[in-house]
């Protein structure tokens, strides 16, 4: 027997839970991450956490539908938003408010969507990004078409698609990996491994030691990164995205993080999850370590931190107010976007709706 192929999966982390950086701030700057970027990261992560808390409060008080919190996943989600270029296309799942906000989706739109209003997906800034995606992993196939479009038009653009640890069990995920490898497409897959698919732990989702190794089945490389370390996430994402942009093909990043919240507001994680596990996960969450890094290196003061928090609160409150004041869609909105031209039969049904109610 002779060995005909070998593969490996690497792990990286720049900022550990104790807020220790594996490099110096100077070196980080050479790598393109300046202190101002760190502040910017922090601000964005705090904004999304503030938003998230508020969204749950809105749901609890009947002013929003079921909402999937991204508590604990702010680092990887923000890093994706910060690393991608405006002209790239983001293909989200449903827990990706952080990335979408970085890319230009307004918080009002996100609230509209989870408030049961299609207008939430009419993104204004990032208007080529795909809308929220609920059927798990189905979005991966879309990223293949989008990346193929870039390649065919010879545009230096990249498709970035995310899915969860649960998503890696779906056929669509693998069919997409295989296609990306076959055509060497400019697509980066980010698997946000938050350890849970609703109540199913990572260990029951797959017998693989890493989810990153799934890329090997697509014929390209995969790696793990500490998904709670926004610096490491940004560095590795930058390499992957710029490589893809340069025509070097696809890559997969498995970001190790933890879903600190219930699956959604309709879920009760205490039914299936150990309180100790959760406690441990809280010690590794992404905001605190970045906050401590900033404080330890005197990049920010306690009072500045407070100011940022107030600013986030204000921004979120303003958006919530706008959301709550949003005029409702007319009933005809059920019909208007089914086809570019409304067929006769639909016109008849619409007029029935208008007259019969």
């Amino acid at each position: 027997m002779k060995t005909i192929a070998t593969f490996s999966v690497k792990y990286s982390q720049s900022l550990n839970p104790a807020a220790e950086l594996n490099t110096s701030l100077e070196q980080l700057a050479t790598a393109g991450i300046h202190s101002s970027d760190l502040l910017d990261f922090y601000q964005s992560m705090l904004l999304i956490r503030t938003f998230d808390t508020k969204a749950i409060a809105l749901q609890r008080t009947g002013r929003l539908g079921t909402y999937p919190s991204c508590l604990g996943q702010e680092a990887i989600s923000t890093a994706i938003g910060k690393t991608m270029h405006a002209e790239d296309v983001f293909i989200p799942g449903y827990r990706d408010a952080a990335t979408l906000i970085c890319r230009g989706t307004t918080m009002q739109q996100i609230l509209l969507y989870w408030g049961g209003d299609e207008r939430g997906m009419n993104f204004t800034g990032n208007n080529q990004d795909l809308p929220y995606n609920v059927p798990i992993a189905s979005q991966c196939c879309h990223s293949i078409g989008i990346a193929y479009a870039f390649k065919l038009r010879r545009e230096p653009r990249v498709a970035v698609v995310v899915c969860g640890d649960g998503g890696t069990s779906e056929g669509d995920f693998y069919e997409s990996l295989n296609a990306a490898g076959t055509w060497q497409l400019p697509v980066v897959f980010v698997v946000i491994n938050n350890q849970w698919a609703i109540s199913v732990p990572r260990s029951k989702q797959s017998g693989c030691t890493t989810l990153a190794q799934k890329a090997i089945a697509g014929g390209f490389s995969g790696e793990q990164v500490d998904g709670n370390d926004i610096i490491g996430c940004h560095l590795q994402l930058t390499k992957a995205i710029e490589n893809a942009r340069a025509g070097n093909g696809p890559h997969l990043i498995e970001a190790i993080t933890y879903r600190l919240s219930d699956h959604t507001t309709a879920d009760d994680a205490s039914r299936y999850r150990d309180a100790d596990d959760l406690q441990q996960a809280w010690r590794e969450e992404p905001l605190l370590r970045l906050r401590n890094l900033l404080l330890n290196h005197q990049l920010i003061s306690e009072s500045q931190l407070e100011a940022i928090q107030s600013q986030c609160n204000e921004e979120v409150e303003a958006c919530v107010a706008e959301y709550l004041a949003y005029p409702p869609q007319p009933n005809s909105a059920i019909f208007e976007y089914m086809y570019q031209q409304m067929p006769c039969g639909l016109k008849q049904q619409l007029s029935e709706l208008e007259t019969q109610r």
């Binding site: 539908g65 079921t66 449903y94 969507y113 989870w114 408030g115 049961g116 209003d117 299609e118 929220y132 609920v134 059927p135 798990i136 992993a137 649960g166 998503g167 069990s169 779906e170 056929g171 669509d172 698919a197 609703i198 109540s199 199913v200 029951k204 989702q205 797959s206 309709a266 879920d267 039914r271 299936y272 409702p328 869609q329 009933n331 909105a333 059920i334 019909f335 089914m338 039969g345 639909l346 049904q349 619409l350 709706l353 019969q356 109610r357």
Partner: protein
Amino acid sequence: MPNLTLIEAVNAAMNFEMSADKNVLVLGEDVGVNGGVFRATDNLQRNFGEMRVIDTPLAESLICGMSIGLAVQGFKPIAEIQFMGFIYAAFDQLICHASRMRNRTRGRLSCPMVLRAPYGGGIRAPEHHSESTEAIFAHVPGIRVVIPSSPARAYGLLLAAIRDPDPVVFLEPKRIYRAQSEMVEDNGVALPLDVCFTLRLGCDLTLISWGAMLKETLEAAEYLAAIGIDAEVIDLASIKPIDKVTILESIQKTGRCVIISEAPKSGSVAAEISAIIAEEGLTSLLAPILRVSGYDTVMPLFKLEQQYLPSVDKIVKAAQHVMEF
């Protein structure tokens, strides 16, 4: 005799049959410790262990396909698809394999499995969580499609589905999962498949519905009774095969028919019922057969879902229209 909601009745039926028959298995996403997102499988894993109540990886085609493998090996898998909106990836396995195993092998192998899924709108759920596409399944030869509309019928029909030697798609109207409790004796007595249930006798017109819409249909019948119109109400229950006899007999008596369902109108199960009557009961008809249904649109997000779903008012108006014809 316990007072059960529909979802509790579903749970009780599975629990009963798993105790009675060690070949009955439950599998799906989150059916284990979590007991299913609606708690349909609550306590089953505790009662019957991890090998018989299986949390699968997140893969619907696998769930249906492995159920087929279990079934040909003599097990009776009850597979849960978390919401009907996610059943489509399992459709290929259902139509190409589950529905055909007996026929393809001339009876050598068979596929006694149940594919359960909550379906329908009205609970302010997120996108893809409110559809009712039972018509798609009702067109597939070789399977049964069953929809209960009360706790007692959920209990009896699910037992029948599990015991049936052929594949059954069992769709649960989630809007009424907890709408009503009733006394259900947990005695393992199944109800017959392939027959309708006449919930209300009447002689002026026939209202046919299934699942959650029977709630509005029965309310409409009450209202109609108050204004002097005596409606017969039929719960279709078995969506496939359809019990033509009960339907045609009713139409023969009433001469008028309104069919109520929340699925998009075109190509719905309501169309099949209408076609059966137009084919075999035309001479009894005194008025057009009306369908009160959802629209030929995507189910809107929840802000507008009440505009989409048929209302009592709409049913009453249709009934009046038919009566005045």
